[in-house]
Each structure stands twice: as C-alpha cells, then as structure tokens.
C-alpha cells in the first residue's frame, strides 16, 4: 500500500469520521485454488462469478456488494493460491491485494476434504495480521467421506472463528456472515494469534526485526510486520525488490545459524516449518474413518485416464458433444428460421406498409435486419447447447483430466497440459480462453497459448458450419463438424511446433497440476453459467450484428437503385477481393463480401449471406396467412420442434421429412457451392483472422499490438493455405470442383 493511502485511513479513524456501522466492510475471500471461493460468493451475494471444478478458474479480482444485517459488505473474490509466495500472474494478483490493499477482514475458504494443504496457506494468511474468519467449505463432502472435524479445536488453536459451510448446498452461510460482522466490529482486537515457528526461526526473526527497526523503521509502517520479516528471511525476490534494502548483511548473519542447524536452503526450512504446523493441527482435529471405500473419482479415472483408452475417449467425448449439441438444437434452430422467414417478415410488412413506410424501409427491415439478424438467431440454440456442455465439462472436473491426457502432446510443442484448458474454453468463445492464459506461470507460454487459442473453433463459427453442413452433408453432420474442431486442434499443434522453432525458443516449462475429484454440477448452476456464457451472443445479435446487418443492407443497395447486388458497393468490394479466393474454390463476390464482414464477428458471415441471397422483392408467395394462422403456426411448430429434439435424444425414429424448400438462402447456397468448396469455405472460416473482440483481448493482455498482429497475419495465411490444400487436394482426388 502506498503511504498516502495508509495515512488516509488513519485520518479517517482519528477524526472519528464515518461511524463504523455506515462504513462498507471490505472482506477479501482467499484460499487454495478450487476450494469454492467463487461458489461461496455466488451463494452469498447472488452473483454469477465463473466457477469450475479445476484449479485456476478465477484469474482476476472480482467484487460483490451486498447487505447483511443492515451492513454493507464488499466481498472480493481472489484467484486461489497455494501459498503467499506466488508464481503465476493470477496468484500475484491475490497476494498483492492482501498485502497492499489491506482488506478489513479475510475470509479464508478452506477445503475440508484437504485440510493439511489448505491450512498451510491459512498459517501464512495469519502472518498478515488481518482478522481472519475461516469458512470450512465443502463440508458436505467431508462428512460424506466420514471425516470428523473438531471445529472448536481449530478455533482454539488458531484463534480465529471457524464456520463449516457448503457453498453448493448453501448451508452455514448466515452463520459465516454473522461471525464476519462480529469480528469486523471487534476490530484490531481480533487479529489472529501469532503462531510460533520454533526456536531457530523465531531467533532469526527477532534478529531481523531488530535490524529493520534500527535501520528501516519506515518499512515496518508500510507492511504487515511479521509478514515482512518472514518474506525478507525467505528472500522472496519480489518483496526484496520492492523494499530495496541497500545493506543485506544482517540477513546473512540472521540466516547463518538457521541454515547451519537445518542444513537446507531457507525456502525448504520455511516450507517445512509451516507445513509441520499445518500437519500438527490436522492430526489434532481430523479423524478419518479406518476403512476407505474406493471413491467414484477413482473408478471414473480408471477408464477416462486409461493408458490406451484415454485419448480415444477424449476424441469420442468431443464427437458426442457435437452430436448432442447439433441434434438437440437443430429443430429449435429450424423453428426460429422458419419464424423469421415467414411470420416475422409478414408482420413487419403488415405493420410498416399501412404506416405509409416507403418500399425501401420495408426492404431494409425485411431483407436487412430480419434476414441478417434472423440468420444468426437461428443458431442461438446451437450455441447455447454448446455452452451447456462446456459448462458441464468445467463443473465435472474433466478439464484437469484433459490437461493431464494432453500434456505429452502439448509438451512436444513446447507447452504443457495446462495450456490445454484455455484452448478448451476457447471452444465456447476465444475471448475467455485468451484471458485464461493467465494461469500459466511463464510469460512465453501465455503468449504462445493465446496465439493458438483462436484456432479453437468458437461458438460464433458454429452457425457457418451448421448452415453449410445442413445443406451439403445432412447425413454426417456431426462428423463433419467434429472434423473441423479436430483440424483446429491439429493445426494448433502444428503451429505450436512452428512457433517453438522460430519465435519462442527455449526450455519447455514444468507441469504441476492438481486433479480435483469429479463433481456433479447441479442443474440450476449449469443453467446459470450456460446463460452467463451464452448471453453475450444474444447481446451481439441485438447490437452489432444488428448494426452490421443494416450497414450491409445499405452497402448492398447503394449506389441508389442498383439493378444487381453485384454492382452495389459491397458487391464491388467483394468482386475486387474475390480473385484471391479463386484458387481455394470460392472466388465469388458473395463469399468474399461475407468473409469481409465476418471479421467483426464470425457469425456475421451467415448474416451477410442471408442478406445477399435474400430473395428479390415481388417473388413472394401467393397466399398470405392471417395473423391468427401465423400465431397458431408459431406455437404448434415450436411444439413440434421440442418433440423432435426429445425424440432425437432418445433415438426414436422420426417421421420422414418432406423436403420442403426453406427459403432462398439454402437454395442459393446449394447453387453457389459444392460439397468440396463448402468444406474449403468452412476451413477458411475456422482459421482466418480472429474476430475484433479477440484481437482486442490479445492487445489488452499483452499490452502491445504485436502479438495480435502476429496472430492476425499467421492465421489468415494459414486459413488460405489450408483451404487451398483442401480444395486442390480434393480436386486431385476427384471429389469434384
């Protein structure tokens, strides 16, 4: 904390300023990774922070404000850490917050099924001299395992309040908050007990304390004293750099005896001392049942992590994911499609025409907005289904397993298995994938991983695949889509190899990761987090996809009165670029213009096609149904869609479908592409430059345009190359042009 801030706080207290009751109490929520901190805050404050069953979900500090007992409380969710000597960027966030911002109180979330390792951090948190309340979380699982924990015992030995909680079952929360208020009101008097680290360490600490008091008294005002002493003794690089002691002679002297007595490096000595406190405490207060049953996690892992089956299972799981996503959501997508194509357009005309709106406005609404936004909306169910499954994978504990299984492969490209988690997240949306690279310890890994994340096929690309696959590969739809996802992964491996040889030479990083037990996410939490992930696609549809649709309509109709869309501004631009796509099989102005607009967001490729291929005015159907008929149609066809989805899920036979021509878009695309060129087109869409939001995220993460630029260039080149190989290779094999 800076000096000025500290003064401000003191002044406030001295002046008696705001009465304690009105002040917002700032509570930092800290603990080991995956101990349930974010879940706890969600349960208490009704927030929807990202949670998942692996270590390193939260990567930045998040706040939640709420009231309890008439008091304002600010909960600060911190990334999990194993100790207060951080390695990765997100752990530094946590430690810096605790040390420099000095919250009023720390809620230490402890995983009750894993006491010893969690208490090791508790011991360090107590060094900070800030009042602590312990949430003994995941208490439900501990009880299921038959653990008996002496809660009073912990309170007595550590001198902190302890409350058993279950964030998922929402038990113990009120009690926790009551204790938080009690402790907050007691103020400094409730600072945790000072634990003794044994004679040798304490003698050395006293020696350092004296030296500091003598030579650098101002330091002790700025930092928590005991914490500072111990960090200086541990020779924590970051702390030493910050406090900048000109003469460290006294430190050598202080540590001399300690090292002589223990014959180890100081880091090991301190880790040992703290762990023996944690172990000693655990022995006193925890009773485990004699007989341990084989747990579900072991049983599942025996299959999922099997030496021979591990990788095939991973591939099969992904395939199944696409199959389910696709089958379940397709009927609803078709329903939305039919609605926007039929009733909505008719209603728009019915409303606008009597109002005296000129023809061109009706066309703007119908052929611009409804065709453009509608074409994208069709795929919202698919996107949500996809997000649902990703949320499930995150909550179940499979993420860490995927990292474990893939580590060897990732190692060969100079990364490690943990880099695979941002990539998996990238399947939902590349942007959180890029942010998730913060959990990687090494800056080089971060950049490399972030460069590869956009090769993971995100939800926004699904609409393109679904549209084309539905037209050209109706019988193997999921397999074709799956092949695109796999291609993304394989190309990421290939590009990783290339980057490793060129931009990122050097040692491969170490891989150390916790494998959490499998957990069954609750249905309600699945829904909440699916919505959290999916809603921004809806938001996008309502905002900039809407705006782009309008823009595209103008570009397609200007200069005013153009006969053919080909001669419009967009058509001319497309035609100018089209020759570039000649060798890869889709050198038409329509394809080129869609790709240009798709840079904003990849779903826009579909939106623009919807507008380009929208049937010309005047070719409308003969009979216009009444409003009532339309409404009935909307409801009944939704019912039919639901029935179809359920039947698909249960593998019940479906009635043969009449091949009804569904609007111009499909027909037009059927005329413009072949199966081969459509595949080349999908490959191009998969790979070509990341959308503007992803580029902005890279810029923000790395503070320079450099890596975003590298990503943009290499991906576009790769996209073209891959599409070329697909198209020309396919032709050589006689798959038709």
């Amino acid at each position: 904390m800076s000096n000025t801030q500290l003064k401000y706080k003191d002044d406030e207290q001295a002046a008696g300023g705001t009465p304690a009751v009105a002040r917002t109490i700032t509570v930092a929520v800290a603990g080991n990774p995956n101990s349930g901190k974010s879940t706890l805050i969600n349960a208490i404050a009704g927030t929807r922070l990202h949670v998942g069953n692996w270590a390193g979900v939260t990567v930045e500090k998040k706040e939640a404000l709420f009231e309890f007992g008439g008091r304002k409380i600010r909960l600060v969710d911190l990334p999990g850490t194993y100790s207060l000597s951080p390695y990765s960027q997100e752990e530094i966030v946590a430690r810096d917050y605790l040390v420099h911002e000095r919250p009023d109180l720390i809620v230490n979330v402890v995983d009750a099924t894993n006491l010893e390792r969690n208490l090791y951090l508790t011991v360090q948190i107590m060094e900070l001299g800030i009042p602590v309340v312990m949430a003994l979380n995941i208490y439900d699982e501990a009880q299921e395992k038959g653990y008996r924990i002496d809660v009073k015992g912990i309170e007595e030995m550590l001198g902190v309040a302890v409350v058993p909680t279950s964030a998922t079952k929402k038990t113990g929360l009120d009690e926790l908050l009551k204790r938080v208020l009690d402790v907050a009101d007691a103020g400094a008097g409730r600072a945790p007990r000072k634990l003794s680290y044994g004679e040798d360490v304490e003698t050395a600490a006293d020696y350092v304390a004296e030296a500091l008091e003598r030579n650098y008294p101002s330091l002790l005002e700025r930092y928590p004293k005991r914490w500072l002493l111990l960090k200086i003794m541990e020779q924590d690089g970051q702390v030493l750099e910050k406090v900048n002691l000109p003469d460290q002679g006294f430190l050598e002297e202080a540590l001399h005896h300690l090292k002589r007595a223990h014959g180890e490096d100081i880091e090991s000595i301190m880790a040992d001392v703290r762990y023996s406190l944690a172990s000693g405490l655990t022995r006193e207060i925890l009773e485990k049942p004699e007989l341990r049953q084989t747990e579900l996690t072991e049983k599942i892992d025996r299959i999922v992590l099997n030496r021979f089956l591990g990788i095939p299972i991973f591939m099969a799981a992904m395939w199944l994911l696409f199959k389910l996503t696709f089958d379940l959501s397709a009927p609803f997508g078709e329903w939305i499609g039919a609605m926007t194509d039929g009733p909505f357009k008719r209603w728009a005309s019915a409303i606008l025409t009597p109002l005296g709106a000129p023809d061109w406005t009706v066309s703007l609404v119908n052929d611009g907005v409804i065709a453009g936004v509608g074409s994208v909306l069709v795929f919202v169910p698919v996107i949500f289904a996809m997000m649902f499954f990703i949320t499930f994978l995150e909550g179940s504990g499979y993420m860490a397993r995927a990292a474990f299984v893939m580590d060897r492969t990732m190692h060969s490209i100079g990364l490690h298995g943990k880099s695979f988690i941002p990539m998996l997240l990238g399947f939902g949306c590349n942007v959180p994938g890029i942010y998730a690279t913060r959990t990687l310890e090494n800056p080089k890994d971060k950049v490399l991983t972030a460069l590869l994340v956009p090769l993971m096929s995100c939800g926004a690309r699904l609409p393109v695949y679904v549209l084309f696959v539905g037209i050209f590969f109706p019988n193997n739809s999921s397999t074709v889509i799956w092949s695109l996802y796999i291609m993304g992964i394989l190309l990421a491996v290939l590009m990783g190899l290339v980057f490793k040889r060129t931009l990122f030479r050097g040692e491969a990083p170490m891989f150390i990761m916790e494998l959490p037990p499998y957990r069954m996410p609750s249905f309600s939490s699945l829904c909440v987090h699916t919505w959290e992930k999916g809603k921004h696609f809806l938001f996008k549809a309502g905002t900039y996809i809407f705006a782009v649709s309008v823009l595209v309509w103008f570009l397609l109709n200007l200069p005013w009165g153009v006969e053919h869309k080909r001669d419009s501004y967009l058509g001319q631009a497309g035609a100018a670029v089209a020759p570039i796509f000649e060798p890869v099989g889709f050198g038409t102005w329509e394809a080129a213009s869609s790709l240009i607009t798709g840079v904003i967001a990849k779903e826009i490729v579909v939106g623009t096609m919807g507008e380009i291929y929208a049937p010309k005015h005047g070719e409308e159907k003969k009979e216009i149904p009444t409003l009532q008929e339309d409404l009935k149609e909307v409801v009944t066809s939704f019912g039919e869609a639901s029935v179809k989805a359920v039947k698909t899920l249960l593998y019940l036979p479906q009635p043969e479908e009449k091949e009804e021509d569904r609007g111009g878009l499909k027909l037009a695309i059927q005329g413009a592409f072949t199966p081969l060129t459509s595949y080349a087109f999908m490959v191009f869409v998969l790979l070509y430059m990341p959308c503007v939001v992803a580029i902005a995220a890279m810029r923000q993460e790395f503070g320079t345009w450099k890596w975003a630029g590298v990503g943009l260039l290499y991906q576009t080149a790769l996209a073209w190359g891959a599409a070329l190989i697909v198209y020309q290779g396919g032709r050589l094999l006689g798959l038709g042009g």
């Binding site: 880790a271 762990y275 474990f404 060897r408 190692h411 150390i512 916790e514």
Partner: protein, 75 residues
C-alpha cells in the same frame, strides 16, 4: 529409487528432493516435502505425466521432475 520409477499402485516415502528447477518451491507449497508418503496412481496415456496421491489429494507432474524426487519404496 525415485518417484518416476514407481509403478502405479506402489507407495513410497520421500527421502530427498533434488534441485529440480524453478518450481521446487511450488512443489513444496503443494506439500511435496521430505518424509511425506506418496502413492503413484496413474501414468498418462502417452507415458507422461504421472498422477500421484499426496496429503490426501491428487497431483500430476512430469517424470522429469519426478526423477528429482528420491523415494524409499514402502510396500
């Protein structure tokens, strides 16, 4: 004997931790300390990394690092 050489299902006690690189401290923070009991649970499909159980949770690390952790086989 070192941790990388234990077979799945075998248990051991850590006798020393060599200089296994920059993340030694991280391993210690996660409870990999001299005197600790470890059990190898699994080897990943492609032979690396391995999964061990330590201090009542499961940890995965690569064989290269595991080689620096000397163990005494127990049972």
């Amino acid at each position: 004997m070192n941790l990388a050489k234990l077979k799945p299902g075998q248990k051991g006690k850590i006798t020393s931790i060599g200089s296994i690189g920059p993340l030694k401290r991280r391993l210690m923070d996660m409870g990999v300390l001299v005197g600790e009991d470890v059990k190898v649970l699994k080897v990943a499909p492609m032979g690396d990394p391995i999964e061990v159980s330590i201090k009542s949770y499961n940890l995965s690390l690569r064989k290269k690092e595991a080689e620096g952790i000397a163990v005494e086989v127990a049972g």
